[in-house]
Symmetry: C2
Amino acid sequence: MSRDGKISDSVIRRLPRYYRFLGELLEEKTSKISSGELSKRMKLTASQIRQDLNCFGGFGQQGYGYNVAELREEIGKILGLDKCRRAILIGAGNLGTALALHIDFHRSGCELVGIFDSNKNICGEDLGSLRITDIAELEQFCREHSPEIAVLCTPKSAAKELCDKLIDLGVKSFWNFSHYDLNLEYEGRDIVVENVHLGDSLLTLTYHTNNR
Amino acid sequence: MSRDGKISDSVIRRLPRYYRFLGELLEEKTSKISSGELSKRMKLTASQIRQDLNCFGGFGQQGYGYNVAELREEIGKILGLDKCRRAILIGAGNLGTALALHIDFHRSGCELVGIFDSNKNICGEDLGSLRITDIAELEQFCREHSPEIAVLCTPKSAAKELCDKLIDLGVKSFWNFSHYDLNLEYEGRDIVVENVHLGDSLLTLTYHTNNR
């Protein structure tokens, strides 16, 4: 299996979709699937799917198709879901609350271990199985629990300073909803960033709506 | 200017980013920028940027760079931001509330005209400048206001039936957060869908965290 880091970004981008679709197939009790069927479901060409999965060693058998459970497990391992990394969430407003309650962190190889906010009125309130903690306690918490991932749901204005601090405290990965493009600042510093710009997604929809 | 619909998907995906970055430049009172400077900011190559912008006729002048305001306005027109399309949001839970309050629909060429939920306990409450309406009134509302875009923040289980209904009521575009892949159902039916899978985004981050 090729895990030498040479996998292209576009293949990596598709891995979560494969993982999700294979999970749905398992829920439907489908135990094997051909690249042709998978391609219809995923709106990719069958040859694209064969090519993608060959990147990881190829799990298909001629005339049989893919074993859904095995393939899903293998993709899960490639994604790193057999590990569990500690994550904290900062900013318990509506978006932060939505993420804390509705995202299955465990299923994504993470464990949400802390939620922080600067609004003292909500500190102490429960959010799911966690309690919202005053951001003033962030430093001590990080020293004690060494989280590796931070989910940023703060306003743009707070993001840069907060990130510098979190990086000093050992956080290496950011799931960033703050409207501030983090990767531009931290290039070459071994920091991993996934910027989520929901506004860009709506603009893309607007474009397609106007050009149907 | 080439607006013959031959613009590739990857260029279209980058348009909202160009638009956002140019907006930030304007806020910083930057009136012109070279493709080299823009490339540093956007983490694209200068030649990629020149190629992208040439798709729309090319706005740069040799030795001068791009006029930020003009370029932004032109990209805005291509995105369709000079129009204003009516949008409704369905599902006023945490995520729906976050979107209703924090997304600048106007800036994205839309106007949010209605918010619906099936939970009678929150119907009648204000959300931003709108009031949450009982989903039972959806049909009548659509007949009267003809919204074109629906933002779906419902559970996966409700999405399919709701979409069929909305399509019958004339909605053609879906910004879909429901974990249900809509475009697979409505292929070839002139329906525009932007599926947002936040879980896929977290899985991508997990992969990169494990493969730093």
